[in-house]
């Protein structure tokens, strides 16, 4: 049952990523359309902090981070474990991927919350 559940989750997050990533790419690369400002301006420090204050952005980023990390790292685990590994190497891959995922999740979460709480001009 366990492998079925892991795979089902991998499949379930596909529409979540498709929608949220689509939104993220559209907002970033079509800033003139969505924000009425140039792409370069949209990437500026102040603009980025301002944008990061919206709750919507916080929620979208957190969801996208979790969904994208799970989906991508499940896929990576699949690719690595399809190689002929010794049982020790299998454990290394499994644990390594989980640790890496937790690290990126922690970093991404910290940065997103830092942006949400950051004071402009300081």
């Amino acid at each position: 049952m366990r492998e079925t559940r892991l795979w089902s989750l991998h499949i379930l997050v596909i529409p979540i990523i498709a929608v949220l990533l689509g939104m993220h790419l559209a907002i970033m690369h079509y800033a003139p359309v969505f924000y009425g400002m140039s792409v370069d301006k949209a990437r500026e420090y102040a603009t980025m902090l301002e944008r990061g204050k919206s709750v919507a952005q916080l929620v979208i980023y957190m969801l996208l981070l979790v969904a994208g990390l799970y989906h991508g790292l499940y896929g990576l685990r699949g690719i690595l474990r399809e190689l002929p590994l010794t049982p020790t190497m299998v454990k290394v891959v499994d644990v390594g991927i989980i640790l890496f995922g937790l690290f990126i999740f922690a970093l991404g979460t910290y940065v997103t919350w830092w942006t949400f709480n950051a004071k402009l001009g300081g």
């Binding site: 690369h29 792409v39 980025m48 690719i79």
Partner: protein, 146 residues
């Protein structure tokens, strides 16, 4: 298992077998493209989270980073990443449907020449590839935004 029996010369194709294993059809190479684009995307995503964390080092560091990414080389890399993401997403939609058993037809007594589920869902493959192409063409308009 009889350990006296010779197992034989290792004839496994290995990782080369992911790339080429014989004269198979299109979907066999969509599998390869999906695998490569997936690896590229997870590598990019990890770097992206680490790179955007640079905002905590202050405005100067951030501006330097953005300046680097505005260079033509990086804009080309960015576009290639976009193409990779679109391919992976569109092919992923196809796999999502097909791996749950949709668009593959019904089990039927095989009559020669045999039809296979791979060929039966070819129309879906075409639709997905066309959508990917359209998305890339539309997305390339972003290259003109400054």
């Amino acid at each position: 298992m009889n350990s006296n029996k010779p197992t034989g010369y290792d004839n496994r194709l290995g990782v080369k077998g992911w790339v080429y294993a014989g004269r198979y059809t299109f979907e066999r190479y969509l599998y390869l493209g999906h695998r490569l684009s997936g690896l590229g995307l997870i590598a990019y995503m990890s770097l992206h989270i680490i790179e955007t964390a640079n905002r905590m080092r202050g405005e100067q560091a951030w501006a330097g980073l953005m300046g680097l990414f505005a260079s033509p080389l990086f804009r080309v890399i960015e576009f290639l990443l976009f193409v990779m993401a679109v391919f992976h997403a569109m092919n992923g939609i196809r796999l999502l449907l097909v791996e749950l058993g949709f668009f593959l037809g019904k089990p039927k007594e095989p009559v020669y020449p045999y039809s296979t589920s791979v060929l039966r869902h070819r129309p879906l493959t075409y639709v997905v590839m066309i959508l990917a192409f359209v998305a890339v063409v539309l997305g390339s308009s972003s290259l003109f935004f400054k």
